[in-house]
Amino acid sequence: MLPVGLVLAIASGGRALADSKVGALVSGSKAAGIQPPQCVEPTPYMRRHHMELILHQRDMTVHEGIRGNKHSLAGCIDCHVARGDDGKAVPVNAEGQFCDSCHDYVGVSLPCFQCHATVPTPASAHK
C-alpha cells in the first residue's frame, strides 16, 4: 500500500504545487536543474526504497566510519534542498518542500530531522 500511496502523493503533490515544483522535485534545488532527471538510483526505486538506503547508510557511517558515498542523507539534502532568490536554503521538511510534501500527504512520520540538519551546512563551518 505504501509505495502506491507515495506515488499518488508525488503525482498529486506535483499538481497542487505546480508553481514551485518540477514533477516531485522542488524548483530551486540542484536536483531540479539536472536534465534529464537523475537521482543516485532510478527514480521509481528511490520512491519505494529511499528509507532502506538511508537506514543502511546510517549504520555504515556510525559504526564503520564510511562517509560521503552516494546514499548519505547529507547528499540527499544537499541536492534536494530548495534555494530562494537570496540563495538561502529552505529546510527540506518545511511545508511543501521535498521531504515534507509526500510524508505529509501519506501521514508517514519524518523523524530524521529531530536530530539531523535540514539545510546543508558548509563544510568549512566547523573550522
Binding site: 556510525v62 566510519g65 539534502i77 529531530q114 536530530c115 540538519a117 566547523h126
Partner: protein, 254 residues
C-alpha cells in the same frame, strides 16, 4: 561488549612500527607532508588504528578554556541554547559538555593542577557494558561513541562512566550542523571529532586550539605518531588506572 581479541601484541606492534617507517621513507618527497594514517572515507575503519591522546597538564594553563570553546564550536554545542524559563543554575549544570575544564588540588601541598576532562575512550568502556540497547559502543579504531539512532535516553551510561564524560540532551535543538546531528532524548560525549578522522584528517578541534601544545593526538598503534612519541618520552598515567579500563586518553604531570 569487550574486544578481547584486540589486546596488543608487542611483537606485532614493533613490526607495524617498522613497516610504517619504511612507508614513510619511500613516500615522502621534499616539501610534501604526508599523513601516514590518512584514510579512504569509503572503507570501514579497522583495528589497525587506535586513536588516543596525551594531555600534558604541566603545559595546561589555569583559566584557559580554548580547547573547551573549540570543541563546542566544532560540534555545535554552542548552538544549544537555554530553554525559555529554565533555571540558569540547573541549565549550567546540565547543559551538554564534551570537555570539562577541571582543577585538582593536592590538599597536602595546596598545589593546583588544571586539566581538560572528556571521554577517555576506554578499551573496556563501562558505558557500553551497561547500555541496554547497544547504543554505546566502541568502534574498531578505539573511539567510544553513542549510536543515537538506537539510544533510548535511559542514562545508565552517564551513571556508569567514572569520568562524568557524558551529557544528556534535555530539550529540542533548533540548529544542528550536518556533521554533528543532535536531538532531544539522547546521550552524547566526545568522539575525537570523528567526522574529521573519517574524512582523512588526523587532528581534533581541541588539539588544534591548544596554544600551549598540551594535547598530543594520534594513532597509539603507530610508533611514529606524535602521541606515541610523546607517550614514550614522558611519564604518563591513566586516570583511575585501578579500574583497568585501558583508556585512550592519558595524562602527564598529575
Amino acid at each position: 561488549m569487550s574486544n578481547s581479541n584486540e589486546s596488543i601484541d608487542p611483537n606485532r606492534r614493533s613490526f607495524l612500527g617498522k613497516a610504517g617507517a619504511a612507508v614513510a621513507t619511500t613516500l615522502i618527497a621534499p616539501g610534501v607532508v604526508l599523513h601516514a594514517s590518512a584514510r579512504d572515507p569509503a572503507t570501514p575503519v579497522t583495528d589497525a588504528v587506535r586513536w588516543g591522546m596525551l594531555i600534558d597538564t604541566s603545559k595546561c594553563a589555569d583559566g584557559c578554556g580554548d580547547c573547551v570553546q573549540a570543541c563546542e564550536k566544532e560540534n555545535g554545542l554552542d548552538m544549544v541554547t537555554m530553554p525559555e524559563g529554565a533555571d540558569p543554575e540547573n541549565w549550567d549544570r546540565q547543559r551538554p559538555r564534551w570537555i570539562r575544564q577541571i582543577q585538582l588540588q593536592d590538599n597536602l601541598t595546596g598545589q593546583i593542577t588544571s586539566l581538560p576532562m572528556m571521554c577517555q575512550h576506554c578499551e573496556e568502556p563501562p558505558c557500553a557494558d551497561v547500555c541496554p540497547t547497544g547504543a554505546s559502543f566502541r568502534r574498531a579504531d578505539g573511539i567510544v561513541m553513542v549510536d543515537r539512532h538506537i539510544c533510548i535516553g535511559c542514562r545508565y551510561c552517564m551513571m556508569a562512566c567514572p569520568y562524568k564524560a557524558r551529557s544528556f540532551i534535555h530539550e529540542e535543538v533548533d540548529v544542528k550542523p550536518t556533521h554533528a546531528p543532535r536531538g532531544k532524548g539522547c546521550v552524547e560525549s566526545c568522539n575525537f571529532c570523528v567526522h574529521r578522522l573519517d574524512s582523512g584528517e588526523t587532528t581534533t578541534a581541541c588539539q588544534d586550539a591548544c596554544k600551549h601544545q598540551a594535547i598530543a593526538f594520534g594513532d597509539l598503534k603507530d610508533k611514529n605518531s606524535a602521541v606515541s612519541k610523546a607517550l614514550e618520552s614522558v611519564k604518563s598515567r591513566q586516570l583511575r588506572a585501578d579500574l583497568q579500563l585501558n583508556t585512550g586518553v592519558r595524562y602527564s604531570g598529575v
